[in-house]
Amino acid sequence: VSAQRRGVAVEVNGRRVAAEVEPRLLLVHFLRWTAGLTGTRVGCDTTSCGACTVLLDGRPVKSCTMFAVQADGHQVTTVEGLAPDEGPLHPLQEAFWAEHGLQCGYCTPGLLMAASRLVEEAEGELRDEDIREAISGNLCRCTGYVNVVAAIRRASKRAGQPSGADGP
């Protein structure tokens, strides 16, 4: 049986991406191959590692555990959508830089997306236990998470201040 192809239109980082895709295409592959946004990583393909985490309508989801056809008509934010191409980095990205919250970097886009909503909604400095809970679905094999947690905490401190009042 030849596979059906189906029209899909997803708003990715504010840009409409439309294509005819096979139903079995995972959202993560749609983002990487069809939309050309390779910041989102494929770690395990089995819902275990969190490297593929993106925001679907503003909430973190694993893009390897959703078919592209299911995202039709929805909004997706990837790591490329955190900061403008030519502008300053997102405060969370700045904080990962300042705290050395990464080594090889493979898991970093997933960690950034998993933590981004937490940081944006934070009213003042986040507690470590809330940070660790938010990133508990993301595996990192380099850092031991200590600097990752420090980076997210730093970004939350910044989020609680008026914009422009702080730098790394």
Binding site: A3, E22, T47, G50, T65
Partner: protein
Amino acid sequence: VTRYHRPERLEEALALLGEHGFDAKALAGGQSLIAMISAGFLAPEHLVDLNHLPGLDGATVEEGTVRIGALVRHADLEHADAGLAAAAPLLPAAARWISHEPVRNRGTMIGSLVHADPSAEWPAVALALDARLRLVRTGGERWVPAAELFLGPLTSDVEPEEIAVELTLPAAPPRTGVSVQELAYRHGDYAVVGVVAQLSLDGDDTIAAARTALFGVDATAVRPAEAEAVLLEAGPAGIERAAALAATAVNPTSDATASAEYRREMVPVFYARAVRQALERAVASRAATDGEASG
């Protein structure tokens, strides 16, 4: 997967499942289904996406009955409003143990029941609370009590042409406390041993209802009836005896995470912890109620 269907009416979805039988799978949250397809354990030709069906995303409390629709996500129950949390306190208590936030944002409670993983939280909650699942097929429907739903690991009494559209469970009485105790090597991993408990008190502080279930320690979730009977009969003094009985109600197996012997040793420990905490919370809720009355 070669065909994807996005019905907008329940009748349409039922007709598709009736037509394709074992070649089709209903897709709600997909957090087990898609992972199993990716891992090569399942290869359904047809996917019937339930996410565009109307009226399945409600979680309501009416006249002492809690009603949960097929599209209610784990995260919806984790962040249940005050009314729902009061009527079914085990729902938010258990939801926060499930996997991680991105999975909780997609996965559904009813999908988890149909999936019937013996190490998952929801089957135990459904069993403890006497939940009933409404299964609909073209031209008919039936209600299945949780006690009859789980047939074995990853096997539930749901036919390929049926859709589980909603579940109901009785609202908790006012003086109720709950607890979920789980042994897992990392938060969000499947349970090595898990216990859910909901205890309700009479006016004179005796235990009026004990609803408990164990998971991760048998082919399905298990409700230890004899242990509950001891709690009703002997009260707090019977907790150790009930916990020992709970261990005799299950049949754990060994796997990479733990041996059967270790699981059996841990059952009474976690059962006693869950019952004690639920009891403490029931007593505390009573104190709070009294405080309101006198204040």
